[in-house]
């Protein structure tokens, strides 16, 4: 049953990739059907799970022994528990919506079948990632989503920028993957097992320093996939891919695999030194603030959302570092809803604007694209933290835990929330309100010339409406008012309870309504500020070049890697070529030269061989006679 979850989309991808052009006509329907079937199966398993008692909910499926060499045992097993089912529903649910949307969005693309094959491949890999029962199998899914992400970012392979962006994503992810492989090696050496069960049992008795190293290595891995500082830059270039890909992979699902990994390894974090969670929290807060400041000055409709994603992922890391695993998962779910909605909305805008992505050439679109505008506005209210939309509840939950953990990081979180409200309002005003500016630069459009943006087809609007609905009601999963309303917390309790920070007795918990109020005020200030600047024009917009260029991170990284970095790499290459290879080649040359000298003895004259034999025989005989035979 569990294997079928992964098997269905994998089958879809296989049929589409092997079937070739013959499947062009119906390939996209097959892909949607496979994704939807996987979702239905997931929902069925979920309902089955709800019916069981808490202890029986966790089920495993051992498929076969994958690697079995002495003490080195790796099973190929799947593991479905409360945490993975949440991800399964999210991946297949949001995934199916985005599949449906893509039918419309990719309608005119000649490579639509290939696109759907990759989407299915991604869904299968992501499901393997969340359903694996050991770190090694998780690694397979981890690389699988990396591959699918690479293929989809560089989907428009004829565009050099898309090809480069794909490579960049792959290489930056590889830096993070080093962390995961290091962690797996460390687990093997110290615990002798890589199953979640085995590692969880072993960390309790293991030495704290080793456990901390494993935790930090896994943090590096999570930073790579979840685009946390300093590995965040690939996600921005990933916007080169088709917009549904940005929604599915680079906003809703794949980038949250870092959050998943951290929650899975919560016993490791729990057993490591105090500073490990603090590092996670600081990384998260720094990333959240950094990305939020940059988003303020972006003019590309997708880049704003990309930076916003990085910022929100930083929020989730901040939550995990503060011990708020449930809040992190909660925010991940609501974020998946509203960010997928915003991305799909922006895709609808791009589609309607004939592939124009610059927000300075939009404006007043709400009249021409009413459904897109309304759903986008719902997404905006959700991300800005306006009650009672989903994002408000999850963001507030995180801020509550952060306040209990560290006041300074709480202030950083609040500033980020303010900036989030500000830049999202800016985006909504630039795109949907104000004056229509799409014909100002008509000449740039070439063939298009005068044109009027149009609303997208129904098949694209349907997912928007569903996601908008979820963005409104998603907060009901975990309402802060009474303990009874913490549905998500109760559901995830068997997995997170032990590592979760206990804030029940802190000042923050008793005064949570004050913190709620502060959050609302901050969001309102952000929204009003953006209105004053962009709608009323009362103040001049602050969009310095340094922010537009993302604090020159890419330029700086290029300089660092290209200058001292390249020198270092060249030095290492020189050592490899001259010292390591020199030793190897030197040995070979020495042996060859000796051989060259010695083989001259082989003259080819039979009589000289006979003479040598005779001489040898006489010498041996003389030796025996001299010493005596016995």
């Amino acid at each position: 049953m569990i294997a079928a979850l992964i098997g269905l989309p994998l089958l879809g991808a296989t049929v589409l990739l092997l079937g070739g052009r013959r499947t062009n006509a119906w390939g996209h329907f097959l892909a949607v059907a496979m994704s939807a079937a996987s979702f239905v199966l997931g929902a069925f398993l979920f309902i089955q799970m709800v019916g069981k008692s808490e202890e029986e909910r966790e089920v495993g499926q051992h498929l076969f022994d994958w690697i079995s060499v002495g003490a080195f045992q790796i099973p190929f097993g799947l593991h479905l528990d409360q945490l993975s089912i949440v991800f399964v529903l999210l991946i297949t649910g949001v995934g199916t919506l985005i599949h449906i949307y893509s039918i419309g969005y990719m309608e005119h693309d000649p490579n639509r079948r290939r696109f759907f094959a990759y989407l299915n491949l991604f869904v299968a890999a992501m499901l393997l990632l969340v359903l694996a029962d050991n770190y090694f199998l998780l690694y397979v899914g981890w690389e699988g989503v990396g591959l699918a992400s690479y293929l989809l970012i560089s989907f428009y392979q004829q565009k050099p920028s898309a090809a480069t962006a794909g490579k960049k994503a792959f290489i930056v992810n590889r830096v993070g993957d080093v962390g995961l492989s290091l962690a797996i090696m460390l687990m093997f050496v110290t615990f002798g097992t890589v199953t979640f069960e085995g590692v969880d049992a072993a960390v309790a008795s293991g030495s704290s320093s080793t456990v901390t190293w494993i935790g930090l290595a896994l943090l590096l891995a999570a930073c790579g996939k979840s685009a946390q500082f300093p590995l965040q830059s690939w996600l921005l270039d990933a916007m080169e891919g088709p917009t549904p890909v940005s929604a599915l992979i680079h906003a809703a699902t794949m980038v949250t695999s870092g959050v998943f990994l951290m929650t899975r390894m919560s016993p490791v974090l729990h057993a490591s030194y105090e500073f490990a969670p603090t590092i996670i929290a600081v990384v998260g807060a720094a990333t959240a603030l950094y990305a939020a400041t940059v988003a303020v000055a972006q003019n590309d409709i997708k880049k704003v959302l990309a930076y916003s994603t990085v910022s929100q992922l930083g929020y989730m890391f901040l939550a995990i570092g503060s011990g708020a695993y449930v809040a992190a998962i909660f925010h991940m779910i609501t974020h998946a809803f509203f960010k997928a909605l915003l991305f799909l909305g922006s895709g609808s805008v791009i589609h309607g604007m004939h592939h124009e992505q610059d927000m300075r050439r939009m404006g007043a679109l709400r009249k021409l694209m009413p459904v897109t505008a309304i759903t986008f506005i719902i997404g905006w209210l959700a991300i800005a933290g306006v009650p009672p939309f989903a994002g408000f509840w999850s963001k507030d939950e995180i801020l509550l835990y952060v306040y209990a953990n560290n006041r300074f990081l709480y202030v950083v979180g609040l500033v980020t929330a303010l900036l989030t409200a500000y830049y999202m309002t800016r985006q909504v005003i630039m795109v949907f309100y104000g004056k229509a500016k799409w014909n100002d630069h008509a000449s740039d459009h070439g063939a298009h010339g005068d044109f009027t943006p149009h609303e997208s087809p129904k098949i694209m609007l349907f997912p928007l409406v569903v996601l908008a609905f979820l963005s409104v009601v998603g907060g009901a999963m975990q309402l802060p008012f009474t303990k009874k309303l913490h549905f998500l917390e109760h559901w995830l309790a068997p997995i997170t309870e032990e590592s979760e920070a206990h804030i029940g007795e802190t000042w923050a918990y008793h005064n949570k309504y004050i913190l709620l109020g502060v959050a609302v005020v901050v969001a309102t200030v952000g929204i009003l500020a953006a209105f004053a600047v962009y709608a009323k024009g009362k103040f001049k917009a602050i969009e310095p070049k340094v922010l537009e260029q993302a604090w020159y991170y890419d330029a700086g990284a290029s300089k660092l890697v290209g200058g001292p970095g390249a020198a270092l790499f060249n030095g290492i290459a020189w050592v490899d070529a001259h010292i390591v290879d020199g030793a190897v080649n030197g040995t070979a040359t020495l042996v060859r030269n000796i051989g060259g000298t010695v083989r001259k003895a082989q003259t080819g004259f039979v009589r000289s061989y006979a003479a040598l034999m005779a001489i040898g025989f006489v010498a041996v005989l003389a030796w025996f006679i001299y010493r005596g035979v016995a």
């Binding site: 083989r599 001259k600 082989q602 003259t603 080819g604 004259f605 039979v606 009589r607 006979a610 003479a611 005779a614």
Partner: protein, 99 residues
């Protein structure tokens, strides 16, 4: 008769064989010298068997004869083939199998 005399004769025959192998170039002569060495060894075996009154030496001598017969067949065949291709039976000229 003193058994040492047989051994001395065998040693002389063997040395003549070795000398023949080392100094002659004609493959046929070299071959005959090898035969001489083998028969010198045979003589020593038979003499030793006679001296100790056992059959072991005789058995070995018969073995050597059989092996020598087989070796002659193969060896002569090779020499004939070499002669056909090179029009010469000089073993110094057939020296291509070297470094």
């Amino acid at each position: 008769m003193n058994p040492n005399n047989y051994l001395i004769l065998a040693a002389i025959l063997f040395t003549i064989g070795v000398y023949g192998v080392l100094v002659r170039r004609n493959a046929i002569i070299v071959f005959m010298s090898v035969e001489l060495m083998l028969n010198a060894a045979n003589l020593a075996f038979v003499a030793a068997a006679r001296n100790t009154g056992t059959l072991d030496g005789l058995v070995v001598a018969f073995f050597v004869m059989v092996v020598a017969a087989a070796e002659v067949v193969v060896g002569l065949a090779i020499i004939v083939t070499i002669f056909r291709t090179r029009r010469s039976a000089s073993i110094d000229e057939a020296s291509l199998m070297k470094y």
